[in-house]
């Protein structure tokens, strides 16, 4: 097992050795189940009338996608909590020298930390996606659209997680790292909406906003521009994090 997987597995194990990961899974599961059941109930009540309409929205449009869309908002809050300990926690607990003295390079440490935190986020996404998927047992879902929306959420949360890892290298205080991740993540998500409220409709601002790249996925469109954007943000954040970790080695 390479050092990357070893670090990722160790972080995964440490997360689940504490109540945090279990509580998060339970709370998000409960919240998502409640929203899912409410939406499903509403859909079932209106289904007869919807059936009479041409090109009427189906259960995927009215139940599954809104559920995943609201999960994107929850992830904005959850990712900072999942990543804040990654490097900041190691610095605070004085455990970083253990990894550095074992000859593990900064980029490997950062990638391992990213995968360890991302595994928890991906588990949350899998848990929520499994709810509408269950409907496939009794009805026909638009699996293509559901897959696109899931891919979008995975890419979006990967970018947020990488930003969280970067923020976690800036400080030895996990709470500060979480706050920084929340602020940067929120700015990137709401950038275009905020600009529009100010009467600015700029292409660059729209391109920079995460929400504008997540939206096509939720509509069932896998946009190569959006994929590139998320991969770029993830890669850049991890590169800056590795660079920052390198500079930490040279400090007293």
């Amino acid at each position: 097992m390479s050092a990357i997987w070893l670090i990722a597995r160790n972080d995964w194990r440490r997360q689940f050795a504490q109540p945090f990961a279990w509580v998060v899974l339970a709370l998000v599961g409960a919240l998502a189940a409640w929203q899912f059941l409410l939406a499903l109930d509403m859909f079932l009540r209106h289904a007869p009338r919807l059936g009479a309409l041409p090109d009427a929205p189906g259960v995927t449009d009215l139940v599954a996608v809104p559920l995943l869309q609201s999960l994107s908002g929850v992830l904005l809050l959850l990712v900072p909590l999942a990543t804040m300990q990654s490097i900041a926690g190691e610095r605070r607990a004085h455990t970083l020298p253990l990894l550095l003295a074992a000859g593990v390079g900064s980029s490997r440490i950062v990638t391992g930390k990213f995968l360890g935190a991302y595994a928890l986020i991906a588990s949350i996404i899998a848990l929520v996606v499994s709810m509408p998927l269950l409907l496939q047992l009794g009805t026909e879902l638009d699996l293509g659209r559901l897959a696109a929306a899931t891919l979008g959420l995975l890419l979006y949360s990967a970018a947020l997680t990488a930003i969280g890892i970067l923020c976690s290298t800036w400080t030895a205080h996990p709470a500060l790292a979480a706050a920084a991740t929340l602020v940067i993540g929120s700015l990137l998500v709401m950038l275009d909406a905020g600009a529009r409220m100010q009467g600015v409709d700029n292409e660059l601002v729209n391109w920079l906003a995460m929400s504008s790249h997540l939206a096509p996925f939720l509509r069932g469109i896998v946009s190569s521009v959006a994929v590139t954007y998320f991969v770029l943000v993830t890669t850049l954040a991890l590169l800056f994090a590795a660079r920052r970790l390198d500079s930490l080695r040279t400090r007293a």
Partner: protein
């Protein structure tokens, strides 16, 4: 000192941090079976020197060689050949001792049965059997240091680097740690930083005294001892002429009629003195190296150059 090829060779290594020169042209060699004590007051540059040796901080000038190779060019060498215990044992509070050691073993490149065997061996050597299922976060300082030491030795490195391992330990824990370090010297080269003189006397073969980032004294403890005093306690009340009549005794200073500080001539050793004391019926009760020689050298270097106002 070991005459064979050194495990560690640090040559004129210097390092600046935040623009300030912390370590300047520090150099020494350590061979297998040798324990080097890095002695110095707080801020002398001990931890920075150890971090350079452990591969955490590349020197700005000079070089570090582990078994003849550059650890900064070969990270695998660090993983395999160096074990490092920082001042604060790097433990994950959420893991049990055996889970933690298993992670460390794998981090050092051990797999499967080899990792499991290394963990068992380290647990046995550090007497951690009763703690193996205890969470690291619940361990006392002494046990934390032991677990930290276990992670530093579990991959059988050539070189073990220990940064103030006895710091914060009670006297019994410190004694056990010294015993452990004494056992480690059999198969490893050990570099140990401390500001406790008795740790150096108890554990080390050689000592390097660092002050303001430079090595001001480097040599074998026995050489220091040869010029040094022995502290001798005898049953009979003696006077100085009794001691000066013993062959090899250069001077004798009474601390009380039964306790003496004895200095030996060059070429004489403590065994000769013990034999002579027995022959002359002094009733030898205690014979040990007096810390004052090392202490004198240490204080001469560290206190004499302290900033004005503090040295008084």
């Amino acid at each position: 000192m070991n005459d064979s090829a050194p495990v560690l060779a640090l040559t004129r290594a210097s390092r600046r941090l935040s623009g300030r020169l912390i370590v300047e042209e520090v150099g020494f060699r350590v061979g297998r079976g040798e324990v080097l004590g890095l002695l110095g007051i707080n801020g002398a540059g001990k931890s920075t020197t150890l971090r350079m040796i452990a591969g955490l901080l590349a020197p700005d000038a000079g070089d570090v060689r582990i078994n003849g190779a550059d650890p900064y060019a070969q990270p695998a060498l660090l993983r395999r050949e160096v074990g490092y215990l920082p001042e604060d044992a790097p433990l994950y509070a959420e893991l049990t001792v055996s889970e933690y050691l298993d992670f460390c073993a794998r981090l050092r490149g051990l797999r499967g049965n080899a990792a499991a065997a290394a963990v068992s061996r380290a647990i046995e050597r550090c007497d951690l059997g009763e703690m193996r299922r205890r969470l690291c976060g619940l361990l006392s300082k002494g046990w934390r240091q032991r677990v930290g030491l276990a992670q530093a030795i579990l991959h059988e490195p050539s070189l073990i680097v220990l940064d103030e391992p006895a710091s914060g330990l009670d006297p019994v824990q410190a004694l056990r740690l010294r015993e452990l370090i004494a056992r480690l010297r059999e198969a490893h080269a050990v570099v140990l930083s401390t500001h406790v003189l008795s740790d150096v006397i108890a554990c080390c073969d050689t000592v390097a005294i660092l002050h303001q980032g430079r090595v001001h004294h480097h040599g074998a403890l026995v050489d220091l001892d040869a010029r040094a005093a022995l502290r001798v306690r005898v049953e009979r009340a003696l006077d100085a002429s009794d001691w000066l009549g013993v062959p090899g005794v250069a001077s004798a200073h009474a601390l009380d009629p039964h306790t003496w500080r004895i200095t030996l001539d060059e070429g004489s050793d403590s065994a000769d003195l013990a034999a002579a004391s027995a022959r002359l019926g002094f009733g030898l009760q205690e014979l040990r190296t007096d810390a004052s020689a090392l202490e004198a050298v240490f204080l001469r270097i560290s206190a004499a150059q302290a900033p004005a106002g503090r040295a008084a």
